[in-house]
């Protein structure tokens, strides 16, 4: 976890670029810094990397004050994609990507394997590109190299300063998807700077909105969209996106939070009993840790009922689709329609069950009024 505490930065010329910044970037999450040009995003990144030093305040990595860490060591453990890529023009792509691994004294073979792996990851054929020089790549390809160069030595923390800014919208979205997918596996602590609200909404776990060196609002994309702290935030998000979101409830508000569940080790007679009692034709199967494992229907139970040795887990089906509580109801309804399914289980990122969205719960919701309280989440 990265923690910034009471950070002030005044440059030599007296310009106050950051004022009392307090910021937590959770481990394994993408924190997006967004704000108009000159608001201090790059300055914040440079502070985290100790390229510059703060005038006041402290920065911690997992509780350790970074001013106690040797800056060169620190930088080797922090991947940094600078705002303008900054590839070394006199080195081949392979050498560029291998700079930090080489500094860390990796074996040549290991570096080579890693380079190939990274190039493949961003869809650049290693055979074609490994030996090229940066000037022989398009701007977008250079940005990809910039990103994988920061990943090369598998640093736990990665700073990315507008890494996709030179890309056309399509490759940009591709790389965003790629990043989100990748992050699921690598679980790094990423700080990502952008100007683009759509980009922020797409990839962020946390969004930090900055203006003139202060943090205006910090929260999940959902919180920012729903409860913009002030006019500045609203303007930044744009009326169109706000309208789209604010009138539509999320799955979490609509779902049935107490679905009827059963453990995979139970017998079939017991399953039948539960169905009768609760008057349902389907049971959701969760294990002791509340992890979603599948479902059984009354039809399955009656089919296998005579076999005393059978348990729920033997006749269970697994779900092909699950949804998240943050999903907008409109999207969920569209999904149910497309899949022709009467219900969808709602799970957390870790796979545990939080509820179920059924046609019944949607109809029930429509009768009630939308919540009118507007709570501001201000930092």
């Amino acid at each position: 976890m990265i923690k910034l505490e009471g950070i002030n930065k005044t440059f030599d010329d007296g310009y106050e670029a950051l004022k009392d910044i307090n910021l937590h970037c959770n481990s394994g999450e993408i924190t997006v810094l967004i704000g108009p040009s000159g608001c201090g995003k790059t300055t914040t990144m440079k502070l985290i990397n100790r390229l510059i030093n703060q005038s006041e305040g402290k920065i911690y990595f997992d509780g350790e004050d970074i001013s106690d860490i040797n800056p060169v060591e620190l930088r080797r453990s922090v991947g940094y994609v600078i705002q303008h890529v900054g590839l070394f023009p006199h080195m081949t792509i392979e050498k560029n990507i291998g700079v930090v691994p080489k500094l860390l004294k990796w074996e040549d073979d290991r570096i080579k394997t890693r380079v190939n792996e990274l190039l493949n990851m961003v869809g650049l054929d290693p055979e074609t590109y490994r030996q090229r020089y940066p000037s022989e790549l398009s701007g977008g390809q250079q940005q990809r190299i910039g990103v994988i160069r920061a990943l090369a030595a598998e640093p736990p923390i990665i700073l990315m300063d507008e890494p996709f800014s030179a890309l056309d919208p399509i490759s940009r979205e591709q790389l965003q998807d790629e990043l989100v997918r990748l992050q699921k596996n690598i679980q790094k602590t990423i700080v990502f700077v952008t100007h683009d609200m759509d980009e922020a909404l797409k990839i962020a776990d946390q969004i930090v909105l900055m203006k003139d060196g202060v943090i205006v609002q910090q929260g999940t994309p959902e919180e920012i969209l729903r409860y913009p702290a002030n006019d500045f935030v609203e303007d930044f998000i744009g009326q169109k996106r706000l309208k789209q979101v604010q009138d539509i409830p999320t799955v979490g508000e609509v779902m049935n939070e107490k679905p009827v569940t059963i453990s995979p080790t139970r017998g079939l007679a017991e399953a039948m009993k539960v169905m009768e009692n609760k008057r349902v034709d389907t049971l959701i199967v969760v294990d002791n840790d509340n992890q979603l494992t599948g479902y059984i229907t009354v039809y399955d139970v009656t089919q296998a009922f005579d076999n005393v040795d059978q348990h729920v887990k033997d006749i269970m089906h697994t779900f092909q689709h699950t949804i998240n509580a943050d999903m907008l109801l409109s999207n969920a309804i569209r999904m149910m329609n497309n899949l022709q399914t009467p219900y969808l289980p709602v799970v957390k990122d870790d796979g545990s069950l939080v509820g179920v969205l059924t046609r019944g719960s949607i109809v029930g919701y429509i009768g009630t009024a939308y919540p009118s309280v507007k709570e501001a989440v201000v930092n």
Binding site: H84, V85, G86, H90, L103, P134
Partner: protein, 222 residues
């Protein structure tokens, strides 16, 4: 004695040992002066890019500029009483001449490096010496080499004047031939100096090409 046209050709053959010796000394003069120049001016240029105090920089440039502007004959005449006559004085004079162009190009080479590249190197955890060796120096090399090429050509022609203070080289042959009014020998040794300059220019040109081919920094365009 009447000079016949064929004398201009036979002189190369007749005086071959002298000419080769002169050429050899000439090369030595040039190479030593340039090497000394590099040893002083390149590190000095690098140091200057690191110094934030403006007046130190302009002072250094001004001083080296002064050497450049003193007429070569005058400089040689000034040095002779100090260092005596001979090759040593000649090398020192030529070395002083080489300082300015090498220094200027070294400085320009380092100065032209995109600050983003330095920033990125720093951000990746290269400490300042690694940055200098792995990043900055290779990027400045094309500039330094083209400065070296220019300087070498100058020095080859100025080295002719070294003959005036007994510095050896082709210049000495030219002077001797002039006083004897041996026109074929004057022409022959001048041609040798010319060819030396051309060959040096050509070879160093190739080296410059080699270095700058790889590092056209198109990255900056993003």
């Amino acid at each position: 004695m009447r000079v016949q046209i064929q004398d201009y050709f036979t002189v190369f053959y007749d005086r071959m040992p002298d000419l080769v010796n002169g050429l050899y000394e000439h090369v030595i003069l040039t190479v030593l002066a340039i090497t000394l120049g590099c040893l002083i001016a390149i590190p000095l240029g690098i140091v200057l890019t690191r110094i934030s105090v403006g007046w130190v920089r302009s002072l250094t440039f001004n001083v080296t500029n002064v050497f450049q502007t003193i007429p070569s004959l005058a400089l040689l005449a000034m040095l002779a009483p100090l260092l005596g006559f001979g090759m040593k004085a000649a090398i020192v004079a030529l070395f002083l001449y080489s300082l300015m162009p090498i220094l200027k190009n070294t400085y320009a080479g380092f100065d032209a490096i995109d600050p983003d590249i330095i920033q990125s190197a720093k951000g990746m955890g290269l400490h300042s010496f690694q940055r200098l060796i792995q990043i900055e120096f290779p990027l400045a090399i094309p500039y330094i080499m083209s400065g070296l090429r220019l300087t070498t050509v100058y020095i080859v022609s100025w080295a002719v004047l070294a003959g005036l203070i007994g510095g050896g080289g082709l210049g000495e042959i030219i002077l001797a031939a002039l006083s004897l009014n041996n026109k074929p020998l004057v022409i022959a040794s001048s041609i040798m100096a010319m060819i030396l300059a051309l060959v040096a220019d050509f070879c160093l040109g190739k080296v410059v090409e080699l270095f700058s081919k790889r590092s056209q920094p198109k990255t900056q365009q993003i």
